[in-house]
Symmetry: D4
Subunit: 248 residues, 8 copies
């Protein structure tokens, strides 16, 4: 019963003042942040699929969650056991061993926006794929350039050329090791860049800390970061920038 009907029912004596009061109180809880204020946020956000982090869950728990979802759902940070359990529970799921993900439900058209995704090396590709799947699941097209190192600086120019030609709205840059690529890309980019540090190194700083710190220290205007290996977060934010920029 919506607010207006409730008021009318009360006025017409179909419900008592006590019931109206109680109903209104209960309604408070449901309505906060939902019905009243945030229509626009909800509108945009309804295109964001559920993401289930498999990492700290058992394969059974992940399979159970997977089979109970109705809308588009992504399983991420899943190992082989998780993925096999999902496969068995939801045979039609798309299993992506290459980036530890599973896709439950139907992917949308990618016509809500366009972003770029760049990786520094081949070890960064699984994280880049997380970002890509997430963005595509939000209806955003991805322009991909893999294996653009920073060591040979001229190698960044062709990919950047393409990003500009494709007119992307944001660029995700996944980089492990010393993590310098996002800084270089940002200096050449007309659109915001989201750096994803990748845990592909070894020794001091090799679990992504060096890359994360590098990106945080960078003074290029336009660069923000997400946590180490958080391809999902980078992809969703880049997609949100694109969708929200094109909504006008």
């Amino acid at each position: 019963m919506d607010l207006r009907s409730l008021l009318e029912s009360y006025k017409e004596g179909r419900i008592s003042i006590e019931d109206a009061e109680k109903e209104l109180r209960l309604d408070y809880v449901d309505s906060i942040g939902d019905d009243v204020l945030f229509d626009r946020a909800r509108e945009l956000r309804k295109g964001i699929p559920e993401v289930v982090y498999a990492l700290s869950k058992t394969p059974e728990a992940v399979a159970r969650i997977a089979s109970s979802r109705k809308g588009l759902t992504l399983i991420s940070k899943a190992n082989a056991c998780h993925l096999e359990a999902v496969k068995e529970a939801v045979p039609e799921a798309i299993i992506r061993y290459d980036c530890g993900m599973a896709i439950i439900g139907r992917m949308p058209e990618t016509n809500r926006g366009k972003i770029g995704i760049i990786t520094a090396g081949t070890s960064d590709i699984p994280i880049a794929k997380e970002a890509q799947i997430m963005a595509e699941a939000m209806g955003v097209e991805c322009v991909i350039e893999y294996d653009v190192g920073v060591a040979g600086i001229h190698r960044v120019i062709t990919p950047m050329h393409r990003m500009i030609e494709e007119d992307v709205d944001a660029i995700v840059v996944a980089a492990g090791m010393e993590g310098a690529l996002p800084t270089v890309i940002t200096s050449l980019s007309p659109v915001p860049v989201i750096g994803v540090p990748v845990s592909s190194g070894y020794g001091m700083g090799g679990k992504g800390e060096a890359a994360l710190m590098s990106m945080l220290q960078s003074c290029s205007p336009g660069l923000t970061v997400v946590n180490i290996d958080n391809g999902i977060g980078a992809g969703s934010t880049a997609a949100l920038i694109s969708i929200s920029g094109r909504r006008r």
Copy 2:
């Protein structure tokens, strides 16, 4: 001499093949990233003012840089000594003791976009002001809401209401201590959020690390972060999102 004139001069014999070759080679260096490829990047980026970090420089050095700049220049992370030296060197500079900044040159109209800036507590205000001055220096209007704590969750609703009504394109959230506010804001926001951890606490994690880690751990799609106390970076990226989203 541009490329076409050069070619014509050579064809017409006004310059030798050696000179043409040399000229072309020298031109390479100048032209990379400038004249050829990145017109669009440059167009957008030309609205970004120079930022001089005073922190690790002497007052004299900062004053010398300040007086030598021609375009709009912001001095940031400046202490009282830096600011007084700038004041003396550039009397018309705007000195902002409240956030350790100085503004050299003329601020533009703020008609290129609109962003929101929210702080968790009063200690976060100087960093929020950094973000505001930077965004305004890029021609972007700022909608400000100070002192929105996370402890009383209902206190976030009114500010978010205003952000949505004002139709901002991105929101900067500055928060020290436990840094939970950006996560909460992001869950309610239709536009991307940029978290700025602030070094306003004490004890373990009090120099902004707790806030930074919290924001990095947050799983809200749409939240990215900049380094601790980096108001400039947050403001410039939010402004870039707004400008670049409105360019279409």
Copy 3:
């Protein structure tokens, strides 16, 4: 206008359905967490004074806040400059140089509960005083035992004897260096213990990290901790345990 009056006004036609609806919507924002649900929380919490952390604020800002408060307000982590500025702005404030605090407004009777406060060494006393002032400001009496080392284990027995005789409801233990005292106290205590690590050491772990980690590692049931030097947090929680235990 409260909910019932609003409904009646509407029924009696004194206000239109549109106004009723609008009034109800506006009311949502105010009422969340305040008028509807949390009467009991608010009742207990209304005895908790405001605490203003001076650490990352200017003396002027602290003085301005101090002079604008109406209820009981504590200034903490204040240095000499902060305290002098408060003294000037609010002459009747109680200035506590010994623990970096100022008290604005009138302290209540201490009849709502009783807690114990124990320190390991003399360097821990300022933090213990923070806890004491906070608890007293919440109307809770404090039984104090200073300088109970852990090195001479028999020295803990007399203070614990007193704590038990005084029938305290919770014990705050402030300890720097190796932070072993809370573990020992907890093993002897019939009531919950709150450990406050103190930054009184030097060398590795000397800024309170050793003490914090020790307390976190302790396996004594009944021991919880607050952040390094957070006397306010320990005092308020101990007081809350006492008040809430005695409310029955």
Copy 4:
């Protein structure tokens, strides 16, 4: 032989002065902290079961300990091997694969108190179950609310409503990732809250450090913390608060 009987035996000449003296000296060691001073502590504490941490022990060692205990004993942080070894050694033990625990002996009635337990996400449930089993083993009833995220702030209101209606004496909040939930809960809670950081994330701060630091930085009066994943400690302290508050 108790003290009075000893004195009388000596007076009556049944034992020599040397024997009396020796007996008294030996008695010192036994009596410290036991017979003389701490009756009340012991009374309360006698309801606390033994807890055996399996983590750094071999399955055989854990099984041996399990089969030698007479009173109620909890095995915690046990992997599948530990649990199978316990099962074999003590067939009547209750094996809890879902939270890595085993229960040896008989659980008491839960009539000594009542606490609440809240988790932020499904990954935090095993730690919450540790807290629940520990509290129930101390005779305290648990009111459980799982999967209360912080991202959708309105989702905290219903669970808090229930906590207040059930009149719990303390609330355990288990939260990984950014660890913001305990801060939010504390701001709404009339009773003390114990935060348990959970190691369910990844990347920087993902082993529970971000959650721990967040909780330590929180300035909500009434919040204290235990170590990462220490459900046992949180459950036992919450139970102690409840039992000790109800003893009056």
Copy 5:
């Protein structure tokens, strides 16, 4: 088509000005850093083989890369699975289980220079072998001294004697634990020393951090370091010093 031919073709009318211009623009990208400026760098660097880090790649990915390479390629940080996959894909590859490496292609003569390699203990040998293989792959001879501890200081003298007699141009010193050996060697060495911290210890600092910090803190002129376990980096730099010093 090189630059001069292009200019002539245009002059002779064989290509239009538009084509000449376009050709020149495309050429920019290829030529940066390659054809114009860095002949000498390229000359020296052409002796540096490709190195593929297996650590964060799947065995299949490593095997695929291995079989696609034409020039000399080293696989490093490979586990047994990686090495077996390489063996199967490239039967003629040299498999080095002793240091987790595989060599694809033909090793050169070692006549371009000479370096020394010293280890502190037997646990440092695999890392030393990485350095050796890398240097030999660059055509540089290695003088090896294993198991030169720092504890018995006189044990360093014979190896140093040999290094001087062999007239090496740089010395790689691999050391785990406390990492003191490079400091001692540097004080006795006429040539630059490159320290490689090795992750062979345990406890605090045992993953190579103690060794790394020791080497960074050392004040011996002539000592620089590479990351923990980075034998490849140390070997290649030492080789570069030797080759570049002998080029005169």
Copy 6:
């Protein structure tokens, strides 16, 4: 009244059984660890002076403590303000600006033992002096060798020669920077060595962490460590080894 007298008084009826019982109970507290068990510990330990750490105390507090002590007391980690306050309060105190100490009371003869003290560089001398004063205050003679670097390995031989000739019972080695000296000394020493890391460096590990970790990683049998800059702890332990070894 001692135990035997008490028993006799009771037997003779001079005191009641209630009084005897109470007296015995009170006696428990006093006697634990003091009168009964630990005569030998107390005997040795009675030569250990009180040490007051000035670091986290105000000058007034330190002066007050200084003037209230009766036995030999050392003030350590004192800055100029602390020392001047002590000077004024206790004019006969010996003030040591060179190592931040003050000596209150009379130093004993140094005839209870003999230890060695070695420093790596001149920056380590103040910490070495802390160790020396502490050992001398315990009646132990110190054989001093300053500025024995590790870089020139032959420089350690003469000082070690002297240590052996002087027949010291333990050696304190203070070393900052890379902290390698204690490892080298231990390999040459017939007696236990106590390493004191010194916070004399800069950059990564420069606050003594590199030195501490080096010493912890060292595998020389006979080396133990104290915390960074803890000259007092090293001196007292070395002295205790000497005194306790010579007591036989």
Copy 7:
């Protein structure tokens, strides 16, 4: 040929001055630290067995070293694979699965000294056994007390009583978790104490860092520490204190 013979041979013309000179030069290298200066060190140290750390070596490498040793050799930090390989290679070796060690060669009489070894909990026992085996291998008797917690402070008194009665020369205390036991023991001990932090916990500080920092922060004169889990180092130093103290 010893020095005197050499000189005589030369004088008698049996060798030339060139040969004498060369012989003397070669002799330098051998004699440094060995024949000339350090007889006493060598005397004491000759009782110290070789220790081989298996941790970062392959089972084959460990077995090869084990079978090549002639004197008493201890293998430590060995896993089951290491131990089985040793067993096969050296059938008469004593294999200690309980503490990851193997003993090659014959253990001496334990008549050179006496030390105490105390553990806080059962998880610390394997490390304590390392210390025991090392000390016994040096000919030193060990007085053992396991499972002396710090939580029940009276439990430390009986073990200390025994240590004093047995007249040990040094005490090794192994403690994980919060690591408070060594501080308490040191305050009661007439002899030096060596703390061994043990990595038996979990959560923040649980890998032995909390215990290590606690021990480093402790201000009890007489306590020094070794690295986390370094039972060998603690045992050898305690044994050295005992042997060197009894040599007089």
Copy 8:
């Protein structure tokens, strides 16, 4: 008396066998590492001036050392007080307030080699000057390029061009913030590069850790690093590479 004379004196009976033996033994100590083995090392190293780190010394101590030196001596990491004290003690010293150094004695001709020095930003200049002064004090010429950012990648090309034309033997690159420049430079450089991380940033990683980790993670063959702000170390090693490469 040299070795040969000694032998002859003995043969001729001018000294006894005892005296010869004693003389030879004493000679051992002096000769180790000096007269016998390391002529070449000493030859090269004799051009390395003494460096006195002022940081952890008092101004008086630094002045005293400065006035007592005879050869070329550099004071580094000196603040204004240190420098004034040196000025007063040694009026002819060259005082460099711009990089916290003082030069005592006469600088040599710079004809022993040539190196390059590059900085990323103006904040890195003082550290670059340390490197320059150190290299020049070793007789090596420096080719300087300041303020080569990494953000605009084309800005690195001109400086690298110059480095190659000047034919430097090694390049020092000082960089704070994200520290990416050395990686980029190394990829373009024919000679070894030494990275110096500079502590010019703020926030996480801002004390040079981000820059240090970046450089350690870099996989460019040819890059090694020194500690944060260690311009002296970088300059001396680069100079050593140049001198030792040119010695052939």
